[in-house]
C-alpha cells in the first residue's frame, strides 16, 4: 500500500506510460515548463525532454487535431487540455475527426489517442471554468469516456487507456487532485470499462462517477445510522456504460438515485434513468431520482456555487424523500 494524492497518482500513471513506450508523448498548454496547470507533469520536461513533453500554444483545436494526426501516423499521443471548458474549442476535431474517422473510412484507420482534462466546479471559478461537460462527450459514438474517481483508477486508467485502439477521453475532477488515498500496487487494475460497487447496501442504489463519488459516500455514511443502507456504484466509464452492474443493484434495492454534476436536462443522468426504465422498470419500487447541477451557468459566489452543485445534503434529502414517499 502506498499513500498518495490523486495528483500523484495521475502523475505516476503518466510517468509510467512515458517510460514504457517511446511512442508515447504528452502535449498541451503548460505541460512542460510550468509543470502542468494541475502540476501533474512537474519535472517531466527535465526527465523526458522537450520532444516528448511538448508545450503547445493556446490552440486547442489544432493540437487536438495534431494529436489525432500523430496517432494516425503511428505515435501514441496523450493530449492534455487544461479543463473541459477550453476543450470546447477543440470539439470540432474530437467529433468530426477523432470519433468519426474509423467508421467514415470503412474501418481503414483507427485513432489511438488519449486525451486528459480536468472537469467540474467547486473552486469558485465561475461560469467559464466550472462546468461538467463529460456527458456531452459520452454522447458521441466512436470515443470512449472514463472518469477516474479513486486513487487506484487515477493511477491505472491512463495505462489501460493506452492499450485501447480508439480514442479515450479521461476526465479528472479538479477537486480530486489534492485528495489522498491508498494505492495497492499488488492488486491488478480493474478493466477500463466496468462499473464498481464502492459501498454495498440493500435499500437504495446511488449511481455516480468522478467528483460526485465522495459526496455519495458521505451521504451514505450520514444515512447509515438511520438504518438506510445505500449501495454506491461508481460508473468509472461513461461510454460505454456498464448498465448490467447498475441493473443488478436496482434489482436488489428497488430504488435508484443518480448523482451527476452535469446539468439535469439532456444529462448522462437522464440516459441512465431511461435505461433503468427500459430494462429494470419492474424492479423499481419508486421513480428514479436525480441529483444534478441546477440549470444555471455556475456562479462565482460560494453560497450560490454550493447551491448549484450536487451536495451530500441534497443527496441525503433526495434519498429520504424517495424512501418516505414510496415506502
Amino acid at each position: 500500500m502506498t499513500k498518495m494524492t490523486y495528483r500523484e497518482a495521475v502523475r505516476a500513471g503518466l510517468r509510467e506510460a512515458l517510460q514504457n513506450d517511446p511512442q508515447v508523448f504528452l502535449m498541451g498548454e503548460d505541460v512542460g515548463r510550468y509543470g502542468g496547470s494541475y502540476a501533474c507533469s512537474k519535472g517531466f520536461l527535465d526527465e523526458f525532454g522537450p520532444e516528448r513533453i511538448r508545450d503547445t500554444p493556446l490552440s486547442e483545436n489544432s493540437f487536438m487535431g495534431a494529436g489525432i494526426g500523430a496517432a494516425l501516423g503511428g505515435m501514441r499521443p496523450i493530449v492534455e487540455i487544461m479543463t473541459v471548458n477550453f476543450s470546447l474549442l477543440a470539439l470540432d476535431q474530437v467529433v468530426n475527426n477523432a470519433a468519426a474517422l474509423r467508421h467514415m473510412s470503412g474501418g481503414q484507420v483507427s485513432v489511438p489517442l488519449v486525451v486528459r482534462m480536468a472537469t467540474g466546479g467547486g473552486r469558485q471559478l465561475a461560469a467559464q471554468h466550472s462546468h461538467s461537460l463529460e456527458g456531452w462527450y459520452a454522447h458521441v459514438p466512436g470515443i470512449k469516456v472514463v472518469a477516474p474517481a479513486t486513487i487506484a483508477d487515477a493511477r491505472t486508467m491512463l495505462g489501460l487507456a493506452l492499450r485501447e485502439p480508439d480514442p479515450v477521453f479521461i476526465f479528472e475532477h479538479a477537486m480530486l487532485y489534492p485528495q489522498e488515498g491508498e494505492f495497492d500496487e499488488t492488486t491488478p487494475p480493474s478493466g477500463l470499462e466496468g462499473a464498481a460497487i464502492r459501498r454495498p447496501g440493500r435499500d437504495v442504489t446511488l449511481v455516480t462517477y468522478g467528483g460526485s463519488l465522495g459526496k455519495c459516500l458521505a451521504a451514505a455514511e450520514t444515512l447509515a445510522p438511520t438504518g438506510v443502507a445505500c449501495e454506491v456504484i461508481d460508473l468509472r466509464s461513461l461510454r460505454p456504460l456498464d448498465m448490467d452492474t447498475v441493473l443488478q443493484s436496482v434489482a436488489k434495492t428497488h430504488r435508484a438515485v443518480i448523482v451527476d454534476e452535469g446539468w439535469r436536462t439532456g444529462s448522462l443522468a437522464g440516459e441512465i434513468s431511461a435505461q433503468i426504465m427500459e430494462r429494470g422498470f419492474y424492479d423499481l419500487d419508486a421513480p428514479v431520482a436525480r441529483v444534478c447541477s441546477v440549470e444555471v451557468p455556475i456562479p462565482y459566489a460560494k453560497h450560490l456555487e454550493d447551491a448549484a452543485l450536487p451536495q451530500p445534503e441534497r443527496i441525503v434529502s433526495t434519498i429520504q424523500e424517495l424512501l418516505a414517499s414510496h415506502d
Binding site: E29, D30, R33, Y34, G35, S37, D55, T56, P57, L58, S59, E60, N61, S62, N85, F86, L89, R123, Q124, L125, A126, A127, Q128, H129, V294, E295, V296, P297, P299, Y300, A301, K302, H303, L304, A307, A308
Partner: protein
Amino acid sequence: MVIPKCAARPDCTREHGLELLYQMIRIRRFEEKCAELYSRGKIRGFLHLYIGEEGVAVGALAALDEDDAIVATYREHGQALVRGIPAGEIMAEMYGKANGCSRGRGGSMHLFDARRRFFGGNAIVGGGLPMAVGLALADKLQKRERATVCIFGDGAVAEGAFHESLNLAALWKLPVLFLCENNLYAMGTAIERHQSQTDIAQKGANYGIPAEAVDGMDVLAVEQVSRLALDGVRSGAGPFLLEARTYRFRAHSMYDAELYRSKDEVEQWKRRDPIAFLTARLREAHQLSDGELAALESRVAAEIDEAVAVAEGGPWEPLADLTKDVYTPQSTVGAGITQATRASRNAVSQPQVTP
C-alpha cells in the same frame, strides 16, 4: 515599428499627466489590496493581477470616448477601474456580493458594466475577439461613429479566433481596435515558445490591417498611439492592431512557482515600472511635488478603504435567486430588443434601471 517616445508629447498637459499617474496608482493600490484580501480568504477563485501592466489600460482607455465599447480578459481590474466602474462595485464583485458589478455571479474574471459599455472580463482565451467584431458590426450597421476596443494577451494570438476575427474585421472594415497586451508570457509559456512570429504587430499585414507596436511601460506613448489608431478606426478606415509590449510583475494568477522565468528577468522589468517611469518624468519637469504625490496616494487610499467597506457591507444574493438571469425576464423584452442591448444603446444618455 515606430515606438513613439513620450518626449514627443507637447500636447500632454500637467493635469493630464497627473490624471494618468493617478489612474495607474489607483489600479496598483487596488490590486495590492486585492492580493491581501485574497490571502485573507475574502476574495476567492482565480485572481489575475495586472501589476506592471497599468500603463496599457490607462493609456489606451484615456483615448476612448464614453460610448466606445470595451471587451476585456480575466486580467481586467485595471480596465474596469479606469472605465469608471466604481471601485466598490468591483470589490463587492470579488467578494461575491449582490452589490457587485456582476451581482456576485462573475467574480474577478467577469466584471461587467453594460451601461459603461464594458462587455466583460472573458476567461476563455481569445473568446472576446469575435464578440468585439460583432459589437463593431452593430455600430457600422447602425451608422454610429464609435469604436470597440478588444483587449487580449499574447497567448490569444495563437487561437484561431484571433485570426478569424482580424480577417473578418478587415474584410468588413469594422471599427475595432485590437489591443494586444503582450506581456511575453501565456501563463508559463514564453512568447518564443508559442509564436513562430513573435512580432505580433507584424501579423496585421496578413489581413491588411494597419498595426503598431508601442512601449506599454510608457503610458503617454500608449495613449498617443491609441488616439491615432482610434481616429482611423472611427473614421471608417477599418480595424487597427496595436501591440503594447509590457510585463506582468506577479504570478500568472495569485500563486504559481514561476519556474518559467528568472527572478533576474522580473527584476529587470521592474526597473521599467510604468508608475515610476511617469513619476520620474513629471518630477524632471517639476510638475509633481512630494506633497502632491502624497495627496494623490491618500486620495487613492481613501477610495480603496471605501471600496472595501462597500464590499464588506454588501448583501449576499438570496439563494432563492440562484437561477435569476439565466434568461431575460419576458417583461423586459420588447420588439426584439433585449435589456442588455437597450442598456448599451442608451449607455450615455440614460441611466439603466435594473428591474
